[in-house]
Every structure is written in structure tokens, then in C-alpha cells.
């Protein structure tokens, strides 16, 4: 599902996927991520628009991606 949306939003939203990894500089710790999956939606200015813990429906994720600015 994420792969599909990555193709759909190619060039518009950058997808960074961290599998079995806390990301660069322990980003998961910085963001307080405790559970997987966790999705963090980030605006162009770097501000966090939304942090969702747990699975998301494709349509909900699409709306969250479209809402980013």
C-alpha cells in the first residue's frame, strides 16, 4: 500500500522508510516512536503535521499526504 502511494506521490512527497531501524541519529527516539508501524507526516518546512501510530487505511493516508504543504 505504501509502495503504491509512493508511486502516486512521486515528486510531490518524499517517502523515507525505516525497517528494523530507528533512522538516522535515532530519529525514532527523538520523535518518541514506541510502536510500529508509525507514520510521521512532515510539511516542507520540516514541521510535523501528523504522527499516526498503527496501521492506516490507504484512503486515510492519501488524504494525510494531500494535506501536507
Amino acid at each position: 500500500m505504501v509502495d503504491r502511494l509512493e508511486q502516486e506521490f512521486k515528486g510531490k512527497v518524499e517517502f523515507r522508510v525505516y525497517v528494523d531501524d530507528s533512522g538516522p541519529d535515532n530519529l525514532a527516539g527523538t520523535l518518541g516512536v514506541q510502536y510500529v508501524p508509525t507514520y510521521v507526516f512532515v510539511n516542507t518546512d520540516g514541521s510535523i503535521a501528523q504522527q499516526v501510530v498503527g496501521g492506516m487505511a490507504e484512503e486515510d493516508m492519501r488524504k494525510a499526504l494531500e494535506a501536507l504543504n
Partner: protein
């Protein structure tokens, strides 16, 4: 004799007035779910208020003075909090903050309040604006000129 009688009646009147004051004076509600009116009293009393919604929800409107600590970051962020200090939590409808209250109580926090029904029940003043300076707002992610989705997945 008459003077003594008046003295007794006077003492009775003072006792009754004192009892009425004790019964009617406002006091802090018991910890747990509280309605919006009681929650407003806690805010007025300067109780530490935690908004456990997302940064985006917080920025859309929050109770003045509330700190933004998204519910999934509560376990980490609350490690530095004083467990003897009363804490009042809220979210949009009361569900996420009920989980936060349950977690904090389980961790030994003495007095935790939850706004029953969430901020939708709140009729007081709201502040709009950035969560900058709070736990969520302090984090900035480096971008390459486009929005980013960060996916922390358990497996490929």
C-alpha cells in the same frame, strides 16, 4: 440569663455558617474523568495541562497553557515529570487521553485528570498556533523542498 441564651444561639449560628462554608466551598475534584467545568477549574488553579493530540490538532486550537505531548510520546516524555504534581490530560474526544491517564496512573503519578468527552466539550477559550517549544513542536525534520512521509515499519 438572657445574655447567656443569646451567647449559645450565637455559637450555634457560627457553627452552622462554618459547616455551610465547608460543604459549599469549591474543592479539587477526585482524580479521574472530570467534566469540562471541573477541568476549567483545574486549568484556573494552574494544574499542568497536557494535550495528547498530534501537533497538527494542537495547532488548530488548544486550551491556553497546555503542553503538546502526542499520546505515543507520553511514555518517553513523562519520564522527566514530577509524579507528585497533578496532571490534567485531554485529547479530541477523551479516548486517547484516557489511555494516557491510565498509563500515567500505572507509572505512579499520584493525581491525573482526564477531560471527559475531550476538547469538543470545552467551551472556554482556545489558543491557536504552533506547538513550537513543546515536545512535538520542538522537532524539525530536514527536508529537500518537498513534504516527507517517514514510515517506521516493523518489517519489509
Amino acid at each position: 440569663m438572657a445574655g447567656r441564651k443569646w451567647l449559645i444561639w450565637g455559637a450555634v449560628a457560627v457553627a452552622v455558617a462554618g459547616l455551610a462554608y465547608v460543604v459549599s466551598r469549591p474543592s479539587a475534584p477526585a482524580a479521574g474523568d472530570v467534566d469540562a467545568s471541573a477541568f476549567a477549574g483545574l486549568v484556573a488553579d494552574g494544574v499542568r495541562v497536557i494535550d495528547v493530540r498530534t501537533a497538527g490538532e494542537y495547532e488548530g486550537g488548544h486550551i491556553p497553557g497546555a503542553e503538546n505531548v502526542p499520546v505515543d510520546t507520553v511514555p518517553q516524555t513523562s519520564q522527566s515529570w514530577d509524579k507528585t504534581q497533578p496532571i490534567a490530560v485531554y485529547c479530541q474526544t477523551g479516548a486517547r487521553s484516557a489511555n494516557a491517564m491510565s498509563y500515567l496512573t500505572g507509572q505512579g503519578f499520584a493525581t491525573v485528570y482526564n477531560l471527559r468527552g475531550g476538547i469538543v466539550e470545552w467551551s472556554g477559550e482556545l489558543t491557536r498556533g504552533s506547538a513550537a517549544g513543546t515536545a512535538a513542536g520542538a522537532v524539525k525534520i530536514a527536508t529537500n523542498g518537498t513534504p516527507v512521509l517517514i514510515d517506521f515499519s516493523g518489517s519489509a
